[in-house]
């Protein structure tokens, strides 16, 4: 090892220690926990080895099937809404609009808000009696919606707040992708058609597809973890209708202190996330290697 390399090693060591302590150790510790019956605060459950019992219990757990319904709803709905809406707004902003920069800055503000704060704000907005959303609906002649009281309305409320936070993220990435498309392509295409929809479908969409793919993957993984918004906005209710899979992990581990089972639930989430990302990268690699 050269002196230069040795000096470099010293710079790398803090990073290695960090990864070992705060990434690898918790990862391995929670993996080990997932094979035990460890319950915090229970003397009769000190953490004995029970093999894959926790993992097999997941498939017999009614609550898991209940929370998966909401989780899938928010994944599919959240990803779809944010991508469609973010792409549409990016397309609008990809034109010469006066004050574009100011609008763009304002639009990105929700990204910087903590999800907890957005959930609290959502509570005010969706308040069934005094919230501005219901005031708007009744002002337009509609019936008030019981946003936090009816299961499906509450699910949509969570979805709307999630979309509110993440649409700007999609908007920024897609806008950057759109702006990297050479104008010549549009100019050449306009000689054949003046139809904006055709231009979007034939030129814009194929060229922003890689960005959309990345966003889809990131959003799916992110939405799988959603906890803060339903926690603050609906408390998981009414009933359990807005409890997500991550919410259930939180309740199992830090409310019921069943650390072994919570770890197993979390590892299942990790496995699913790994499968999603693997499929994504496999698809991307296959596509671009062929091209």
């Amino acid at each position: 090892m050269t002196i230069k390399n040795r000096a470099g090693l010293w710079f790398v060591i803090p990073g290695i220690i960090w990864v070992l302590c705060f990434t690898l150790f918790p990862l391995l510790y929670s993996l080990a926990l997932s094979f035990t019956d460890k319950r915090m605060g229970r003397r009769n459950r000190p953490g004995e080895w029970i093999g894959v019992q926790n993992y097999s219990d997941i498939f017999a757990d009614n609550r898991v099937s209940e929370v998966l319904e909401m989780t899938l709803f928010v994944i599919i709905g959240g990803v779809l809404v944010t991508i469609v809406l973010g792409t549409f707004i990016a397309w609008l902003f990809n034109h010469d609009i006066p004050g574009l920069r100011a609008f763009r800055a304002i639009l990105t503000l929700p990204i910087f808000a903590a999800p907890i704060a957005l959930g609290q704000l959502g509570m005010i907005l969706f308040n069934e009696q005094s919230g501005p959303v219901n005031h708007l609906i009744t002002g337009l002649g509609g019936e008030p919606v019981y946003w936090l009281t009816e299961p499906w309305a509450a699910r949509f409320a969570v979805l709307i707040v999630d979309a509110w936070q993440w649409t700007p993220f999609v908007f920024i990435i897609v806008l950057a992708a759109m702006q990297s498309i050479p104008d010549e392509l549009y100019e050449a295409a306009r000689l054949d058609t003046a139809n904006a929809w055709t231009l979007f479908r034939r030129i814009t969409l194929p060229l922003i597809a890689p960005a959309l793919g990345t966003i889809t993957m990131l959003r799916m993984v992110e939405t799988f973890k959603i906890l803060d918004i339903p926690y603050t906005l609906t408390g998981g209710g009414p009933g359990v209708s807005t409890q997500t899979y991550s919410y259930y992990i939180y309740l199992t581990g830090l409310r019921n202190f069943d650390m072994g089972y919570a770890s197993a639930l979390a590892y299942l989430l990790v496995i699913v996330a790994i499968i999603i990302t693997s499929i994504f990268f496999w698809r991307v690699r296959a596509r671009y290697e062929v091209q």
Partner: protein
């Protein structure tokens, strides 16, 4: 010589007296401190002066020589410097620091996070807190892990503020003890009672309208849940407050996580609990005074026909209030009643004192209160049959709530100081002050807070603090009746895993209330999941703890 003797006598008299005076001035821990310095969070002179009087009346022993320089860290419900439960420690902090020379650190913990925070803290030996103003359902975990210490040796010991354990209402004493040992120092008494709009229910015009519509005179106030339902159905949808909009019969809070399940407990108790026959109606047998589990094998009785009937009743009652109450938490239901939009409500004692606060209430001078309601129908588990008796309804008292009170951590380095602080909060003049000033969230708990014959307080005591005489007479009488006039009181769940059991109950109740599950389905689901929890924690481990916690002696 004579002069010398006289001089010596004079000196003998003067010097000690003078030294006593000097010592007394030097020993006064509050010397030189103004009420403004002692009570910086007081909002007006009346509050400040009355607190000063309470502080001096408490006759706190000067403990600076023992505690000077020490630091006491307490954990308390997060609600701010003038919020419920946390407000009182902040309010008395300067006085405590003056009398002990110690420093008081107050750490606020959000309600939702409280048990999580404390369990993680104890389990990982962080031991942040010397004392905790805690909720009663934590005891199962505390005791089974030796996280808190008994305080029997401290009670009545010299050098500490004196409080009166024997004057604490008997059901509340049970919550402060485990077996025969005291663990908690009294602070807040959380019994649920019934509130109504005195001005509306006592209005002859409304009484006549009720009689005309229902064919029977209006019960004022209702004595049973069944009577209350009829009254709520009559008033719901009518503009009885004259604001031009239809108003509510009742105000409930049914959001999951919003403490609604405590209110189900209070309502369902007389539907599902039978007092013991014989001389002691409070005796716990296999069938009597049982609410949670069969005391012989921990089989849940939460889905017994009595419970199902109670939940079905609650569904009917909810239909007499705002549709929004399915999304309400505790405070929103209270606000609805305190703002004059609901004619009835049942909840903790806080409502009675909050009703007197013009910033929180429009119903001062219009409040009525009575003990929690009885049921004309109940299920007898021993015979397996429902009983209907409108004349002699089934009445069961309750203390279903947190009953926030102080306990001392077994890992504390300063347990003596911790006890001093808790005993100071429980010293009769200070505790009474906390009770009277409703913003503290400290509800009546002991006979000095209640009216005769069981209690010792008077209406004037409360009126002096700004209460309406009619309101407080009705409210405190009802509160006292709740603690002293029922033949029996609902047993409290104090076993390891209690929050887990209650979390399931909370979730399934909410599902039943929004119509996702029927009452029977919801409670069957609760029973099934409770069985899983029991097996998971360990039935053999839990059973003796449960039996001890409810005072059940299994037959040999």
């Amino acid at each position: 010589m004579k002069r010398l003797i006289v001089l010596i006598l004079v000196l003998a008299l003067v010097i000690p007296t003078g030294s006593i005076l000097v010592t007394a001035q030097g020993d006064d821990p509050f010397e030189g401190m103004t009420p403004e310095e002692l009570f910086p969070t007081a909002i007006d002179d009346q509050e400040r002066q009355s607190a000063m009087e309470a502080l001096l009346a408490a006759n706190l022993p000067d403990a600076r020589d023992r505690f000077e320089g020490q630091t006491l860290t307490i954990g308390v419900l997060a609600s701010g410097t003038r919020g419920v439960i946390s407000g009182a420690p902040y309010f008395w902090r300067n006085a405590f620091e003056a009398v002990t020379g110690a420093k008081l650190e107050i750490i606020e913990i959000p309600f939702e996070q409280m048990l999580t925070t404390l369990t993680v803290d104890f389990s990982t030996n962080q031991n942040t807190y010397d004392a905790i103003i805690n909720a009663s359902w934590f005891y199962g975990d505390y005791i089974s892990n030796d996280w808190i210490i008994p305080i029997d040796d401290y009670i009545g010991a010299e050098g500490y503020p004196m409080w009166e354990p024997e004057k604490v209402a008997a059901p509340l004493q049970q919550l402060l003890k485990w077996g025969d040992s005291w663990y908690g120092v009294v602070n807040d008494g959380d019994t649920q009672m019934f509130y109504y709009r005195r001005d509306i229910l006592e209005d002859p015009e409304w009484q006549a309208a009720y009689e005309e519509e229902t064919g029977e005179p209006m019960p004022v106030p209702p004595q049973t849940w069944q009577q209350m339902l009829k009254v709520a159905q009559f008033f719901n949808g009518k503009d009885w407050n004259g604001d031009g909009d239809p108003d509510d019969g009742v105000s409930l809070h049914l959001k999951v996580g919003g403490q609604g399940f405590f209110h189900y407990m209070a309502l369902s108790a007389p539907f599902s609990i039978t007092p013991a026959e014989g001389g002691d109606p409070t005796a716990v047998t296999k069938y009597d005074n049982i609410y949670w589990f069969d005391p012989d094998d921990m089989t849940p009785v939460i889905n017994s026909p009595g419970h199902v009937a109670a939940l079905e009743f609650l569904q009917q009652l909810a239909a007499t209030g705002s549709p929004s109450q399915f999304g309400w938490e505790l405070g929103e239901a209270w606000d609805n009643f305190l703002n004059g939009n609901a004619v009835m409500l049942y909840s903790w004692g806080d409502v009675g004192s909050l009703a007197q606060d013009p910033n929180a209430s429009t119903i001062k001078g219009k409040l009525g209160g009575s003990r929690i309601l009885c049921s004309e129908d109940w299920y007898d588990r021993e015979t397996g049959e429902f009983v209907h008796n409108a004349e002699n309804s089934n009445c069961v008292g309750n203390l279903v709530g947190a009953s926030w009170h102080g306990v001392i951590s077994s890992a504390s380095d300063v347990p003596d100081l911790a006890y001093y602080f808790l005993a100071m909060q429980a010293a009769p003049p200070i505790l009474f002050w906390n009770v009277v000033y409703g913003w503290t969230g400290v509800d009546p708990s002991s006979t000095p807070h209640l009216f005769p014959p069981a209690g010792e307080a008077s209406v004037d005591d409360y009126v002096a603090a700004g209460y309406d005489a009619g309101d407080v007479e009705s409210y405190i009488t009802g509160y006292g009746d709740n603690l002293f006039t029922f033949p029996t009181s609902q047993t409290y769940l104090r076993i390891p895993g209690t929050p887990e059991y209650w979390n399931i109950l909370d979730i399934r109740l909410a599902e039943a209330m929004i119509g996702e599950l029927s009452a029977q389905e919801a409670l069957d689901e609760v029973a099934s999941e409770w069985e899983d929890i029991t097996d998971d924690i360990g039935r053999d481990y839990l059973l003796p703890i449960y039996q001890e916690s409810i005072g059940y002696a299994p037959s040999e």
